[in-house]
Amino acid sequence: MPEKDASPSRKSVIHDIALSAEISRRTIAVSSVIEGPQVLCAAVALPEVVACHSCDMLQRSIPLAPGGTALCSRCGSPLFRTGHLDRALALTFTALVVFVIASAFPIATIETQGRHNAASLPGAVGLLWDAEMHLLAVLVFVTTLLVPFLELALLAVILGALQAGHPSRPIRLMLRLISGTRPWGMVEVFMLGVLVSLVKLAHLAQVVPGVALWSYAALMLLLAAVWSNIDGRELWAVAVRGAPR
């Protein structure tokens, strides 16, 4: 069916069909063992069209000016943007370093009547756990430490491998993992929470901001910068056929 189509992206279409044939052979062989009568079938990819995530309208993808965003012509939702994957890679490595600093040092220290107490984020999670608030401890750990770390570490591997021209199946599975976990990373909300709690405490005691406070602010900005340089559609295309040379 896509063979009739003589669009400029014809090459990638053919590549995707080859890919789907390769995957279907392998998974059917495996599935007949694991899942019994259940047969797995690969669908045929049509990468030259976009379907809007909000209203499902089919649209042909258009070339964009740098910094442009394509919007759905029916409901106005963003469809895709232009990305800079090399810039995103450099920002990701910076963010990883900042993340380590942010989680290793105290966020703030309070002083009152000659006594003081410092708190880091992992320490705060530990205290929640000790206070028998296990669910809460897990929730805070996952949203402020686990998911942001996974996101950055996987992105570093994915972007690094794609930059070096090695698209592979593990890279694509990592990419899928990131798109599933990303909504649960809440560094920016946490940052606001830090500010609110410091202002609340300022009435009661002397509060000294720690290294991690500034690192979290930097991490929040870096994460926003990383994602503003990544377009999911472009990243997936590169993960299938490799970076254009």
Partner: protein, 215 residues
């Protein structure tokens, strides 16, 4: 509206995980997956309406103890105090920082309750839709998705205060029994928004204009 064709009408399916548009094979009775990321393919999020209702109702149930039980318990030499979400906002407002109070009021009270109401509105309006409102409802859904996470604010404030104010014999702060319920509300409303499929808004619209044309 000029000739709009949806992927569904052409028998095409968009991968929920990587966004690739695919044509599923004709063979019946096989489990179709995405050729690019290997996620299983569904034309619409599976059981979207039932799942969203279930998560939404569960969130409504948790919303009651989340607001009635204290979210934070503080103790000092001069006695102990319990704060619910509302009394925390009132404390901020009376202690002078009213813009901070407004911010917390927005994140902890407007966002969760607004999200519960708006999700219910989206679900109910799927059945009877006015054509002009589909675009507005899609925008409402995108706003919900964007703001939902900000209600975690209070959870983080309690976590940090409890970690910082640990000075034995002078003052201590502990998270209250309401905090896990509030965290549950945030997680459940986020899951509800994720399981809702905004394309159903537009599917219903097309179906209704078609029915209107027949009569």
């Amino acid at each position: 509206m000029t000739a709009t064709v949806t992927a569904l009408e052409l028998g095409l399916v968009t991968c929920h995980s990587c966004g690739l548009v695919c044509r599923p094979p004709d063979r019946a009775g096989c489990k179709v997956f995405c050729p690019r990321c290997e996620a299983s393919l569904h034309a619409r999020k599976p059981d979207s309406i039932a799942r969203t209702w279930a998560l939404l109702l569960a969130a409504c149930v948790l919303y009651i103890p989340a607001n009635l039980l204290p979210i934070m318990e503080s103790g000092s030499l001069f006695g102990s105090q319990q704060d619910t979400i509302m009394s925390g906002v009132v404390f901020l407002a009376t202690s002078g920082s009213w813009h901070l109070a407004a911010l917390v009021f927005f994140a902890s009270i407007i966002v969760p309750s607004g999200k519960l109401l708006a999700m219910a509105l989206l679900l109910v309006s799927l059945r009877r839709s006015a054509p002009g409102s589909a675009r507005a409802r899609t925008r409402l859904y995108r706003v919900l998705e964007f703001f939902g996470r900000w209600s975690m604010l209070d959870i983080y404030v309690v976590t940090l205060l409890a970690a910082l104010v640990q000075i034995e014999s002078i003052a201590t702060i502990r998270p209250g029994p309401g905090a896990p319920f509030f965290g549950g509300v945030v997680v459940l409303t986020m899951l509800a928004a994720m399981s809702f499929d905004p394309r159903l808004i537009w599917d219903n619209l097309k179906e209704q204009t078609r029915n209107d044309g027949n009569t």
